[in-house]
Amino acid sequence: MTTADFIYAWQREVDPKTASVYTILISFIKNAKAILAGTLPPSKLGVRALDAYTLEVKTESPTPFLPQMMSNPVLAPVYRPVVEQYGNEWTKPGHLIGNGAFTLQYWSPNDKLVVVKNPLYWDAANVVLNTVDWIPIDNNDTATKQFESGQLDMTYELPPGSYASLKAKYGNEVHIAPESANFYFALNVADPELKDVRVREALSMVIDRDTLVKRILGDGELPSADLMPIAVDGARPTPRDWESWPMDKRIATARQLLAAAGYSVEKPLTIRYSYNTTDINKLVGLYILSEWRNKLGVQGKMENQEWKVFIQTRHDGTYQVARDGWSGDYNDATTYLDLVRCHSDANDTRYCNPKVDALITQGSNETDEAKRTALLIQADQLAMSEYPMVPLYQRVTARLVRSYVGGYTDLDPMDRVPSQDLYIIKH
């Protein structure tokens, strides 16, 4: 493997002809955006081989998370001869050539993917597992049953609401760790009723998030009134002043805000909540609408949609309040600030404040880590003071892992669990 394999892989990824749907990470490399837009050729990508084993990467702006990002599979090297020989078939078992700890032995969609230890891996001496079976299971209940019947050593997620019962049964085999991911209600700031920031603030202020995570969800989620999760580098969440107030004061203040915005008992605020059909979204929606009705007299309506229809509704801005959430693409605050940046692909709330954008850009261009963090925190604070969303909680990684699976840690907020770190303890 040489630097040529990286250059080929990256130029192939940004080539519009490849039509890759996931180009967020490569976009940090110089000229990538222009190449993706078709205005520059792939050969202009800011990457150059200094020799066969040294790569020079130029980025559009200082990118402190670049080294961490390099371990993401979308930036992995690709072996050119197999792509040229097999075309679309290059990823199939027997064709795929990689440089990882395992090689692909079997792959059948919806059935399983089997990888076996790669004896040629540079650190093969420290890889313990000989075979890993990856079983795609859509349904978390089915996966949990397979764990319970002794078929699986690890599951991906717990079924919603099952944490307490599984914890009682399996104890330390239930793992919970903060994840770089949040759950919020997007507020369409272009909506006639929600364009008033006082209304948006009132809606966020009265929600009892502790009750939501402890009584309604109960799967270890962390309450949050900020966009930024705790488990992300480059910024930290800022609590709102009212979070420390007693609920009575919060309700009284929120009522004043609504009254100032022109709403009263005679003229109540009406809210339409759109969500994609899942039990959790419905449950959370019922709770939040009941909070708004009981505390502010807001008339709420729920509207469920099938996933693809819902995604279109949110992108088109034909909603008032919508279920939303974000898992960081990479471990840095800027992936979350993308949600409030003007006209960003990830911004569905229509919120736009040039001052926030300026702070994000200033922070992104800053090479001093402390100054960068301070600027990004300021950007988050300014955006969140205008309430383009109602943050509710931070998601957690919750899964079952057999006690005899060694090497498993809950440390990575991006939830990457490399199989080469795992081993089976004699049992």
Partner: protein, 310 residues
Amino acid sequence: MFAYTIRRLLFAVPTILAVVTICYVMVHMTPGGPFDLERKLPPAVLANLQAKYHLDESPLQQYFYYLGRLLHGDLGASFKYTDWTVNELVAKALPVSLAVGGLSVPISMVIGIAIGTVAAVRRNSAVDYLVSALGNVGNAVPSFVRGAVVFLVFALLLQDSHGVGLLPAGGWGGWRFRVLPITLLTIVNVATISRVMRGSLLEVLTSSFIRTARAKGLPERTVILRHAMRPALMPVLSLFTSIALSSITAAIVTETVFSLPGLGQLIINGAINRDYTLVLGLVVLVTAIAVLFNLIVDLLYAVVDPRIRY
């Protein structure tokens, strides 16, 4: 009968074409598309993707492009399973569905006809009530509840010393993985078949020709097996196509409960992901199977009922 078979097979072509056309229109009218993702795609990437899958052409051009490929036996590339063609996906899923649903159908037919017959012959006896009760349970209890019960017994309660269940709770592999899904599908099929068989045989047994057979002094066994069974099988045969289709191509709940990599999973995922080619490909397959089964059933009618001749 040969000419009839050929005629029917030729007639299958416009049938499949009509179904594909209707489905094509419906699929493209459904809101949301394959590239509507959580994060909006940049316009240049979206344009390239649409060009790759011919979505940038007019609906009519796309339709004829699809038909052209279909005539060559090519169901196209999947939108979601991007490394796979629909032909490859079907080739992997069909054997799984045949191994589960395909095996359940003959087993259900044999058991259903047998117990339906016993229930009719021993009408109003304890056996009859037992068959009716089991039939009602089989029909009334949803698959996911039956699935949970068999899982509890065979995968969770009956475990060896290492905590491994007697039978797997899902997934795909050797015969052990097939027992529970086949059993579940068979229960519901047997419930339906036995009920229809019982009712049909009871009706036949009141016919004049049965009275004549009995009057001739034939033993009851001969009356039932030689004279009553064949006409009584007609309604059961009519059921065959719908049971076979639902067991093989649309055992969606069973496949989800047991996480089987069969056609049902593909149908669900195809619809959720707006995987146009996958959905259309599966529709073509299901229609072809339906046409084939209907033909087989019609030919069997002639075997069972001497009055029918083609």
